[in-house]
């Protein structure tokens, strides 16, 4: 899967009855509030909750629902209920944008305080600048996503130590934040709806990094919350001590447990986005996947955050009338695909790439993954929510039942330079033993075997290398590896905008050593030569991506991403997209309310109501 499986969508204007600041609502219906939500995670978060490092959808949900509020944020609902839209959260309204599109100004709600022990400290504009300075700091941002903020004027210079401040950030008064970018970008609100942009309070000594001073590697364990919850025992942190002598918050023990309790400073009237139903959220870390789902079935646990529901459990919950209301299936805004390396023959020929698309048995691949509940067959490269469903029915290589069409495939192959006699079968030696990199975990070995079988009639034979997942991704990404097919990648959005697909996957900025343009779309002749390829030309979509990125969120931007998607599918053909992934959750009988958060692609933790659960 992608680095993070998270996203958010277009920032539609907030109307009077929209969630957000304008008309704050106290949504925590009394009958749903209370109780302890008992969850489990197979593995811990990736950077011990450090907001400038955490690039993981699970952590992003903890931030969104519970711990951190941002200038803008999401409501924790599915796309069709507006879950991909951002709304003012700590901001008092929509930002204003200067005429040249370079300066965005946020007004911050007055009177909002941090969680204990900083409950006497108001959230101010300078605290956002502090967070951005920390995100620019290479010692503090390891593993983070500072590239989303490089567009802020002076951000990179500050990170490199060439400037004392980030010139593009200013706080003219305590409740006004001005952001100046080097180029107009339409999605600045989304970028400030991510955890890295949430405010960091000052400390008593007036240190530059505030309470994060001295905690470059582990601020997450000293995290001061702004959301409806905080780590249990937050009030025991003492920021007046030297950083080295400060004690980590007891409510989070890495690799072991997370305990969230209500934040006494939180004012629900200022927040129309979060339900905050449970009084307490307890999370156990570690265990066996199947056993954890048995515990959900028995009511010992209420929910498993990061597990994969076993296929037999999915069947049981979908077919048993008593259990049907306890299973939830939503598109997780992630795609699975097979990518071609356009610099390696025979995939330097678009007709070969089209032939593979025609021959590919998408239905078979889905069956091997677990059947229809695992997702919808994909006909294009961007998940539908990023294009407002404009291409929902679009698939230029649609075949009966999605099982492949060998006649169409051979017709495309016959157009190829590698089929000299035009019989629809490749007769060039480059079609033999095609280097294919894949994942060694299930279901990929069976899936690649099926692909080998599907491609045989086209004269294509594969040399499949099955690797550990991380190694596979490194190989796919490494332009020097000369692989021809990367058979097992996936990608999820970071936030609900096409830029989180278009830029890393298809532009030259995603080429090695950056990530994750495995097809080398947009590579220059010099780059190709440097990586040892004979091919000198590969199509580029850089200009189109740039055009779409500059547009304001809205219909025009959706349409632009859809056009790009069509261009990619018909004129570039770098992939066989085969599955739009679903997220499948099963719940314990204790949970009486559930909502899917489209931003994180996970259940909204704060919306799971367990009023009857006692700790």
């Amino acid at each position: 899967m992608a680095v993070v499986t998270v996203l958010g969508l277009v920032g539609a204007a907030c109307g009077g009855d929209e969630p957000g600041v304008d008309e704050p609502t106290d949504t925590a219906a009394p009958e749903l509030s209370g109780g302890t939500l008992n969850m489990a995670m197979l593995a811990d978060v990736t950077a011990a909750f450090d907001p400038q490092k955490e690039y993981y959808s699970v952590t992003w949900e903890y931030y969104r629902c519970c711990l951190l509020r941002n200038l803008m944020s999401y409501e924790g609902v599915p796309t069709d209920e507006g879950g991909a839209e951002i709304h003012p959260d700590l901001a008092s309204g929509e930002p204003t944008i200067s005429e040249d599109g370079l300066t965005t100004t946020f007004q911050i709600k007055p009177g909002l305080m941090y969680a204990p022990p900083k409950d006497d400290t108001e959230i101010t504009a300078q605290d956002f600048i502090r967070a951005m300075e920390r995100e620019a700091n290479p010692k503090a941002n390891v593993g983070g996503y500072s590239f989303y903020y490089s567009v802020i004027e002076g951000f990179d210079d500050f990170g490199a130590g060439d400037a004392d401040t980030i010139s593009g950030l200013a706080a003219p008064d305590t409740h006004t934040l001005e952001i100046t970018t080097t180029t107009p970008i339409g999605d600045i609100g989304y970028r400030f709806a991510m955890g890295a942009a949430s405010p960091i309070p000052p400390d008593d000594e007036g240190e530059r990094m505030g309470v994060a001073e001295g905690h470059d590697r582990n601020y997450g364990r000293f995290l001061v919350a702004t959301g409806p919850y905080m780590f249990e025992g937050s009030e025991t942190m003492d920021f007046s001590a030297a950083p080295k002598d400060q004690t980590e918050v007891p409510g989070y023990i890495p690799g072991r447990q997370i305990v969230l309790v209500r934040n006494p400073s939180y004012d629900p009237a200022s927040d129309g986005l979060r339900d905050a139903f449970p009084d307490r959220i307890e999370v156990r870390i570690g265990g066996d996947n199947d056993d954890l789902y048995n515990q959900v079935e028995q009511g010992v646990l209420d929910f498993v955050v990061d597990g994969a529901v076993p296929a037999e459990k999915i069947r049981e919950y979908q077919t048993n009338p008593d259990l049907q209301d306890r299973i939830n299936v939503y598109p997780s805004d992630a795609i699975r695909y097979v990518s071609f390396n356009l610099a390696v023959p025979p995939f330097d020929d678009i007709n070969v790439r089209k032939a593979v698309n025609w021959a590919f048995d998408k239905q078979g691949w889905r069956q091997l993954r677990g059947g229809p509940s695992t997702g919808e067959l994909a006909g294009h490269t961007f998940v539908n929510s990023l294009q407002d469903n404009i291409l929902a029915d679009y698939d230029p290589y649609q075949t009966p039942n999605g099982s492949g069409d060998i006649e169409q495939a051979q017709a495309a192959m016959a157009e190829s330079v590698y089929d000299t006699d035009g019989d629809g079968v490749c007769d060039d030696p480059v079609c033999q033993n095609i280097l294919t990199v894949s994942d060694r975990e299930d279901p990929y070995p069976e899936q690649t075997a099926l692909m080998s079988q599907n491609l045989e009639p086209l004269g294509l034979t594969l040399d499949v290398k099955q690797l550990e997942r991380g190694t596979m991704y490194n190989q796919c990404n490494d332009a020097n590896s000369q692989h021809a097919i990367c058979a097992a990648p996936g990608w999820g959005k970071d936030y609900a905008d096409g830029v989180t697909f278009g830029e890393p996957l298809f532009t030259s900025s995603g080429l090695w050593e950056s990530c994750c343009n495995y097809s080398l779309v947009g590579a220059s002749a010099d780059q190709l030569s440097g990586w040892g390829y004979d091919v000198t030309e590969i199509p580029s979509v850089d200009e189109k991506v740039e055009e779409c990125s500059a547009l304001e969120p809205g219909d025009e931007r959706f349409q632009c991403w859809a056009e790009l998607d069509q261009q990619i599918m018909e004129e570039v053909v770098p992939w066989v997209p085969y599955l739009f992934d679903n997220s499948v959750d099963i719940l314990s009988e204790n949970i009486v309310n559930y909502s899917f958060d489209q931003f994180a692609g996970l259940a909204a933790f704060d919306s799971m109501a367990v009023p009857g659960n006692t700790s």
Partner: protein
């Protein structure tokens, strides 16, 4: 004895240095991928990768990197020895797995803190299982050895063969399914929130949360020990000194328990030391199936994510425990076998 212990301690240090060097060598030669690249995630750029490399000290020459790790686990003067010794888990500059170097690439947490947190779980699992397998394995072995070819002997050997043959992951899941999921006689897997440190592990044990993990681990080892005791006892009972004891008119009971068993149990002491040492280094399968956050689970997670500081910490801890277990076994020999003397 004193000189012997000093010699063994020095040898133990040498073993740990060699183990650490080999671990480092495997890490730098493994094609598992650049840890800096893994840490930055998939959406990244060359600058971020380089920053991560610098942050982890991976930009330095290999010998400098190894020296940092080596220096990091050798006792080092702490800036505040009192704080370091009193804190739980230990804090401070050095003494054991210095935080500057032994800091997880994967979870961004100090290695020693993570180990300190997990040792009580693995320790409780290993010690409890060892007690059970000794209580089961030795009596069954004696019974079987003394009453050869009897019904009891054959039943005991069936018990042993089944135990030795059964994969632990299967037995563990079977027990969990039967005794928790179906019959609800024992608690579900996992350690509840708030059960931290040795106190938490003990509390979990008293609530029966370790019974199934103990039984899973113990059954296989009990079966092995039963076979070993039986074989040793049969061999010992044919020794000349046993015949002499019988000729002197000692009762059969006294011959078996006073003379035969002492000889038969000496190899058991050796095996027990090594087995417990190995288990304290982690019992990955049992810990994973039963959701026990112990050392074994940590080792596998760290290896799979190429988290070298954590792998190094776990390896050194494992080597240390096994070396100490060996030392204890050797010293115990002097008490078990009167022929052994150390100089």
């Amino acid at each position: 004895m004193g000189k012997y212990l000093v010699r063994r301690a020095l040898f133990m240090i040498l073993v740990i240095v060699i183990v650490s060097f080999l671990t480092f060598l495997i890490f730098v030669k493994l094609p598992a991928g650049d840890p800096a690249r893994r840490a930055v995630g998939r959406t990244t750029n060359p600058e971020e990768i380089e920053n991560a490399r610098r942050a982890f000290g991976l930009d330095k020459p290999l010998h400098v990197q190894y020296w940092r790790f080596l220096k990091g686990f050798i006792p080092w003067p702490p800036s505040d020895p009192v704080l370091m010794l009193l804190s739980e888990p230990p804090r401070g500059d050095g003494l054991w797995l210095n935080e500057d170097v032994y800091f997880s690439y994967g979870g961004f947490i100090p290695v020693r803190e993570e180990l300190a947190r997990r040792i009580p779980i693995t320790g409780t699992l290993a010690i409890g299982a060892a007690v059970i397998w000794l209580l089961l394995g030795i009596p069954i072995g004696i019974l079987s050895g003394v009453r050869r070819r009897s019904v009891a002997d054959r039943a005991a050997m069936i018990f042993a063969i089944v135990g030795v043959s059964m994969p632990i992951f299967w037995l563990a899941q079977l027990l969990l399914y039967g005794f928790w999921f179906k019959l609800d006689l024992l608690p579900a897997s996992g350690i509840p929130i708030g059960y931290n440190g040795w106190g938490g592990a003990l509390r979990a044990a008293l609530e029966g949360r370790f019974i199934l993990p103990w039984v899973s681990l113990a059954y296989i080892n009990a079966a092995f020990y039963a076979r070993m005791v039986r074989g040793n006892l049969i061999e010992t009972m044919n020794e000349d000194y046993i015949r002499t004891a019988r000729a002197k008119g000692l009762s059969e009971r006294r011959v078996i328990y006073k003379h035969g068993l002492r000889g038969a149990l000496t190899p058991v002491v050796t095996m027990l030391g090594l087995d417990v040492g190995l288990l304290l280094g982690g019992a990955f399968i049992t810990e994973t199936v039963f959701g026990l956050p112990g050392i074994g689970q940590l080792a596998v997670q760290s290896i799979s994510t190429n988290d070298f500081p954590m792998v190094m910490g776990v390896t050194i801890l494992g080597a240390f425990i096994i070396a100490v277990a060996n030392l204890v076994v050797d010293v115990a020999y002097a008490f078990v076998d009167p022929r052994v003397r150390y100089t």
